[in-house]
């Protein structure tokens, strides 16, 4: 295998890298500097070093948001990945009915978060909401999901899963399409069972995508914001307040931009660690 060392390869990645540096790296660095200051959106008052971070780790509310965010990622990440895979496996066929079903599962993703949360609030409402009415019809008592400290987060997780199932499904569909047909033909010739085909051929072939989806889902769900803000305002009693809501409130409502920036850096670090762990795991499996 001859691989040419060719500096001209840089030309292919240069356009993207330019935008990457200007729009991501530079603002990130600016944000890091901001986290060491006391500022608001109109100016910087003074440099405070690591004081914001010290304050963060003593802030009971912030620590609770970290826990909440972790819980949420654990509730949604694995389910979205596995369910997305399952749907893609079942619906990866050219028939019309499969196309209709695929569209149904994707349709929820096109809605904006405002509408999704509005509808699901109506679902969870104990007094006349969909679940409440169903419970009463079946002879039970409606549960106030969004007001219950223990059930509010799972309720938001269910809403999120309903909303986001489209992305993993489509990613897996595209990956399944790339599996070479001859592999399947060979397996059919060997009279391999469905299960063997699935576990020995399909799954290994989409292994890369599997880890991509998990990483993407973890990264996305760490950034939970809209659903918590609109469905529970972070309550009850901070039970559903995620980190991003904390950042938003500190920066835009309390005008403590430095503090918010520090929290954003902590979030970045958390996502980075989570993503790197997964990448490590995936390369080990791939090796």
């Amino acid at each position: 295998m001859s691989a040419r060392r060719d500096w001209r390869g840089v030309l292919f990645v240069a356009p993207y890298l330019t935008v990457f540096v200007v729009m991501l790296v530079v603002p990130l660095a600016m944000g890091m500097w901001l986290s060491t200051t006391k500022s608001d959106l109109f100016g910087t008052e003074r440099w405070v070093g690591l004081a914001n971070f010290v304050r963060l780790f003593g802030d009971a509310i912030f620590l609770q948001t970290v826990g909440n965010t972790f819980t949420f990622v654990l509730l949604t990440g694995p389910f979205l990945t596995l369910a997305g895979l399952g749907l893609a496996l079942v619906l990866n066929r050219p028939e019309r009915w499969a196309a209709v079903l695929r569209t149904i599962f994707f349709a929820s993703t096109v809605l904006s978060v405002t509408v999704v949360t509005l509808v699901w609030r109506l679902v969870f409402l104990p007094d006349g909401g969909l679940l409440g009415v169903t419970a009463e019809a079946l002879g039970g008592t409606p549960i106030a999901f969004l007001n219950n400290e223990k059930l509010a987060m799972p309720a938001i997780a269910v809403t999120t899963i309903w909303w986001c199932i489209g992305l993993p499904m489509v990613l897996f569909l595209a990956a399944l399409q790339q599996v070479p047909r001859d592999l399947y033909e060979a397996a059919a010739l060997d009279n391999a069972s469905r299960w063997t085909t699935l576990t020995r051929i399909t799954l290994p072939a989409i292994r890369r995508t599997f880890f991509l989806v998990i990483i993407i889902e973890v990264i996305l769900q760490f950034q939970l914001f809209g659903q918590a803000q609109l469905m529970t305002l972070g309550g009850p009693n901070n039970a559903t307040r995620p980190i991003v809501l904390f950042i938003y409130e500190a920066g835009w409502r309390q005008w403590e931009l430095g503090y918010a920036a520090a929290a954003a850096q902590v979030l970045f670090a958390m996502i980075l660690v989570a993503a790197m762990l997964q990448y490590r795991l995936s390369s080990r499996r791939a090796a």
Partner: protein, 434 residues
């Protein structure tokens, strides 16, 4: 394909710019958009609702001032994220609607223009405002905007149910004069109607809790803030929370309803008294003119919060037109903005039909205003409606903290004393880091 990417750049070049001869006036407001109904309307007297009235006012101003190019920017309530971003980008509008409680934040950063001289020039000096409105716009002895209105939480009463509960005397609702009387009347109400006394939007909403807390501490002559710090852990604070906790514990209120469900609930007759603000007066009054429904046949009236403790007081806030500071506002544009303020002040009586309290004392005193449905009952608010002192900054995030904590105490999730100290601690953390 690459050409497609250049398309946005080309479009930028073709963006329309305003006619250079006309003076441009950018008015930014919330209150929603109602283009379909009021897009071209200019008859202010016929308009209904916050959106309708303000839209027709702006349309009429535009029609009467053809030399000004009025740009109306409607933003999602409350619009502060956008305004802050615009100020940071030095691209702020000429006039913007702002809550009185937020003025001190922007004023302290030098982001607003003082308007004393202008207000005097257009014949709307602070002396002509109501006490509440004047407090709302005054910081350090200067006026920082033209008040639009004052709004306060009210007791919206279902008279049909009150009558059934035997709580109507001489055509007027019987209201409690102390917490004990409230519990007794609520008990009676439940026995005779089978419904809870209060309707509250308690889910996914915290402002209501804050307003109740502030109001009843104020009624006890308690101090909420001293020397720029919160003082909630007081006997008055305790009583205020205990009042609502008792109401909750004894099922004298609806539970788990969010704002929309509570509105719908009150309209369906879920309870006797709905605790919500001035903005619903019009809606409920319209319902009471129908012949069917829970509020039918005049079964609605509205009163200020009853005096349950030492004095009559209600927490209030209000809307104000403010002028953000801008480096590149031309004198002509500024003059146009003042012209609009004069126009608005001249038509201020129409805004009263939204249910909010007028900002001008003259309008409160006018028979025309008093003749509007139920306004007679609310006139006293001109003196008893009380905003928080202007020294208290970050009132919006504080409202969220106070409300969330109060909600925990009232539902029993946290004991009252711990709630009060948590509330105080968290609010002081915000105030210490101004």
């Amino acid at each position: 394909m690459r050409a497609l990417w250049l398309l946005p750049l080309a479009l930028l070049g073709s963006c329309a710019s305003p006619a250079p001869d006309k003076t441009r006036l950018v008015i930014q407001r919330f209150f929603g958009a109602c283009e379909a109904e009021y897009g071209r309307a200019t008859d202010i007297a016929k308009a209904e609702g916050e959106c309708g009235i303000v839209t027709t006012m702006i349309n009429r101003f535009q029609a009467e001032n053809p030399d000004v190019d009025v740009v109306e920017n409607v933003v999602f309530w409350p619009g502060y994220d956008q305004l802050t971003a615009q100020l940071a980008a030095n691209d702020a509008p000429d006039l913007v609607t702002m809550h009185g409680s937020v003025i001190s934040d922007y004023q302290a950063r030098g982001l607003l223009e003082p308007l004393d001289a202008d207000l005097a020039a257009i014949g709307a000096p602070p002396a002509s405002f109501t006490t509440a409105a004047r407090t709302a716009v005054t910081v350090d002895g200067r006026a920082w905007g033209l008040p639009i209105d004052t709004w306060a939480p009210l007791w919206h009463i279902n008279m049909n149910l009150f009558r059934k509960a035997g709580l109507v005397r001489g055509g007027k609702p019987v209201l409690p004069r102390s917490p004990e009387e409230l519990y007794a009347q609520a008990q009676q109400f439940r026995e005779r109607t089978g419904k809870p006394y209060l309707v509250q939007g308690a889910a996914n909403e915290y402002a209501g809790f804050t307003r109740n807390f502030y109001t009843f501490v104020m009624q006890q002559n308690g101090t909420l803030f001293r020397n720029g710090r919160a003082t909630f852990a007081t006997p008055e604070g305790r009583n205020a929370l205990q009042l609502f906790k008792t109401i909750y514990d004894r099922d004298f209120t609806t539970k788990n309803q969010d704002y929309s469900a509570a509105v719908a609930g009150f309209l369906k007759g879920d309870g006797g008294v709905f605790l919500v603000g001035t903005w619903m007066v019009g809606t409920f009054d319209a319902e009471s003119r129908k012949t069917s429904g829970a509020l039918a046949n005049g079964g609605y009236t509205v009163m200020p919060y009853p005096k349950l403790f030492a004095r009559e007081a209600t927490f209030a806030d209000g809307h104000v037109w403010v002028m953000p500071r801008s480096n590149h506002r031309r004198p002509g544009e500024r003059a146009a903005a003042i012209r609009f303020l004069k126009f608005f002040a001249g038509h201020a009586k129409h805004w009263a039909r939204t249910g909010h309290l007028p900002a001008f004392q003259a309008i409160i005193d006018s028979p025309e205003w008093r003749a509007l449905p139920h306004r007679d009952n609310l006139a006293i608010l001109a003196t008893t409606a009380q905003p928080l002192p202007k020294q208290v900054r970050r009132q919006f995030p504080i409202e969220t903290i106070v409300g969330t904590e109060a909600a925990s105490a009232i539902s029993g999730a946290k004991p009252i004393d711990r709630t009060l100290s948590d509330m105080e601690r968290r609010v002081n953390e915000v105030l210490e880091n101004l």
